[in-house]
């Protein structure tokens, strides 16, 4: 008995749904050899001759030349030898197109469209059937899909064990390649490493950085007591409504345009606080000996320099010993100063001014005191010359006279550091296993980390403390 095979409309590429049989090259009943052209099929893109894969006999021509047939439709019945008419008719009536379940073998002989951009299109005519050919490692579903999509499985490398081809492999192969990467370099440096001490989700940490939320203040409600995204956003969202109702100008609100000076302060300090990586070193220094020295001065000469004057002198000497703190930061360059030019913050009616005591390490406390008094007086009168409040390698800001315990100052750019001085306070201190009282001042040094590392700033502070607590070292100059 002859083995009959269906000759069906091939599928060349994903988009092909139907084709036209242009012409039959063999007649019904005619035998042909392998490689003989059987027919010419046209899709809307190309036309191609279809060659016989194996020798055989054209048992029946089903398709009419010039007519359009869907992919998988029966075009002809071929056999390995001539077959009786009724057998062929039975085959034709039993035929079900590809995709429908059935035992019918589907034969497609489909040369690739030569100009196809589809990498998956058939490169060579290949005989195909509803079941995978023996020896080809492919799942049944993948084989079926490869027929529908026109994927040449011979060129595929399967992702399953031992290269077996999965449905996923076939479907991926049928899709156009997708470009991956290729843009500008991006930064993937972690911004949250410093928050790793907190038990928080990575997203919560990222949000904390973005919104400037202090994780120490966040109440954790996430799983296992972890700080979650919601915990951080909860604080952010609470802050928003507080800022929202900006009261409209009117009777209760007076609108005052910023003065030039105010604008300059605003600009400088916004630049500083938003672009300079500040860090803060806080320290208490004992000034009992300094106070005693001032008391002796008052007793002998009737007056004494202020604590602040002494601190300026102490800073100048500590800067001389730690030149890495006596700097300005200009872009990628650090300007190291030979002298300690100390800007002293002075509050005036119009705002903050910072006259400079130049080369303070060369001046006695008395001279520093006199200079600051003179500069402050002229600052309040608005009579400072530009060179008297510009420059400076270091700043000192003292709010002790207002009873402020401690504060952190914003760096006065381009300077590298600023010292914030709080009020002198009597504090209980432990000494020799007994409790006594000491007069303490809280100092806070704000440093620009671009130029000054923690240890460098700390050494400066240690020297400052040594000098202030042994004030005889401040005498002379």
């Amino acid at each position: 008995m002859s083995r009959l095979t269906a000759f069906t409309m091939p599928k060349w590429g994903i988009e092909m749904t139907e084709g036209v049989v242009a012409e039959w090259m063999v007649a019904e009943g005619q035998a042909y050899a392998r490689g003989d052209v059987l027919t010419l099929v046209e899709s809307d893109k190309i036309s191609n001759e279809i060659e016989a894969e194996t020798p055989g006999v054209m048992c029946k021509l089903v398709a009419t030349p010039g007519e359009t047939y869907p992919v998988g439709a029966l075009l002809a019945v071929i056999g390995d030898e001539a077959a009786p008419g009724e057998e062929v008719e039975a085959f034709v009536s039993a035929f079900k197109p590809a995709g429908a379940a059935g035992e019918v073998a589907i034969q497609q002989t489909a040369p690739a469209p030569a100009a196809s951009s589809q990498p998956t299109a058939k490169a060579q005519p290949a005989p195909v059937s509803a079941t995978p050919p023996p020896g080809l490692a492919i799942s049944t579903a993948a084989w079926k899909r490869s027929q529908e999509l026109g994927v040449d499985v011979a060129s595929l490398r399967g992702s399953e064990r031992k290269g077996r081809i999965s449905l996923q492999d076939v479907e991926q192969a049928a899709r156009p390649a997708r470009a991956v990467g290729g843009g500008q370099p991006v930064s993937i440096a972690l911004s949250t490493t410093h928050l790793d001490v907190f038990f928080a989700t990575p997203l919560a940490k990222r949000l904390a950085v973005i919104h400037g939320v202090d994780l120490a203040k966040v109440k954790a409600t996430g799983s296992r007591g972890r700080i979650s995204k919601a915990d951080v956003l909860g604080l952010v969202e609470r802050a928003v409504p507080a800022a929202r109702p900006a009261r409209p100008p009117g009777v209760d609100v007076e609108v005052v345009p910023m003065s030039m000076m105010r604008k300059a302060i605003a600009r400088q300090l916004t630049l500083s606080k938003t672009t300079i990586p500040h860090f803060y070193l806080r320290m208490s220094v004992r000034i009992d000996a300094l106070q005693a020295m001032r008391q002796r001065a008052r007793e002998s000469v009737g007056q004494a320099p202020s604590v602040n004057d002494y601190l300026v002198r102490a800073c100048a000497l500590a800067l001389a010993a730690n030149p890495d703190v006596n700097v300005q930061v200009h872009g990628d360059a650090i300007h190291r100063f030979r002298h300690a030019d100390i800007s002293v913050a002075v509050a005036t009616d119009k705002g903050l001014v910072t006259p400079v005591v130049t080369a303070a390490e060369t001046k006695s406390v008395a001279k520093i005191s006199a200079e600051i008094a003179e500069l402050a007086k002229r600052a309040r009168e608005g009579k400072l010359k530009a060179e008297e409040f510009q420059g400076g390698s270091f700043s000192l800001s003292n709010l002790g006279m207002f009873g402020i315990d401690q504060f952190d100052a914003i760096i006065n750019p381009p300077q590298g550091a600023i010292l914030a001085v709080g009020a002198a306070q009597r504090r209980p201190v432990e000494s020799e296993y007994t409790l006594s009282f000491a007069t303490m001042v809280q100092l806070s040094l704000s440093c620009d980390h671009r130029a000054i590392d923690g240890a460098v700033g700390a050494k400066f502070m240690a020297e400052l403390k040594r000098l202030v607590e042994a004030p005889e070292l401040l005498v002379g100059g």
Binding site: A142, E160, S166, E171
Partner: protein, 336 residues
Amino acid sequence: MAQLTIREVINQVLHAEMERDSNLIMLGEDIVGGAGTAGGQEAIGGIWGTSTGLYDKFGAGRVIDTPISEATIIGTAAGAALAGKRAIAEIMFADFVGVCMDQIYNQVAKFRYMFGGHSTCPIVIRMAYGAGLNAAAQHSQAVYPLFTSIPGIKVVMPTTAADAKGLLTQAIRDDDPVIFLEGKMLYGVKGEVPDGEYLLPFGQARLAREGSDVSIVTCGQMVMFAEAAADAMAKDGISCDVIDIRTSSPMDEEAILDSVENTGRLVVVDESPPRCSLATDIAGLVASRAFSSLKAPIEMVTAPHTPIPFARELERAYLPNPTSIEAAARRTLGYR
């Protein structure tokens, strides 16, 4: 074809293989077991009743009661196997395997590799595993994830009487070390068993039910629950593939992937706790190799990440069951 329980099948295979191969020895705790009892040496025949009659037939030289030392059992079996014997070692409860873990995972599993392929270690380590008998946390564990993770040993767990015959015979004749896991709940399960010689190759899953809506992949004691769930759903017009993987190492990945490519939905049922388990292993395989076929997230029905409770009701709640499996399958079907 005979109707036999898995317990009887194991006993028959042991008899047949001991008969067939005089080089084969057996050893374990109380596999003879009657010494000092009124019933005589052979009174017990193993606490599971799987080694009955062997001592009488093959004698003390081939059926060896050991001291209560699992390290001794496996060490002796491994040494005998290296020296040319074949050995069947029994660890009474799989949970006791901790004390012979070096022998198993660092010696037996590595011999062939360490000796450049010049040695084999043909031993079968039989052990009863699994929950369901109120044996509490130290006598109920499903240990197969532990062994499946070790390259160099094969891991087998039959669920039907016929499979018990085919897989145990194959295990004994296999030249590599095989962990043969016998589900405690399954010893009494009866089924048709082929007569005569019957071997089943490893790494070939059994399709216990055939359907097109959901793939339920499972093994060992959970297969019967998965079948019950699938049968219940079949009444509602939902058809499930139930795949009994039979051997977790080697595992029939192709059977699993083929099924998921067909159904698009996967429920993995695993008696062990969920972390680093067979459930996550199979879910991982399907997620990476059949991602495009999935129509719903993979469902894993497992024991919780806790020790196995002793109380009957708690143990029942601990294990996957037909209801929880069906619920998971329906979740995959209801996924939008």
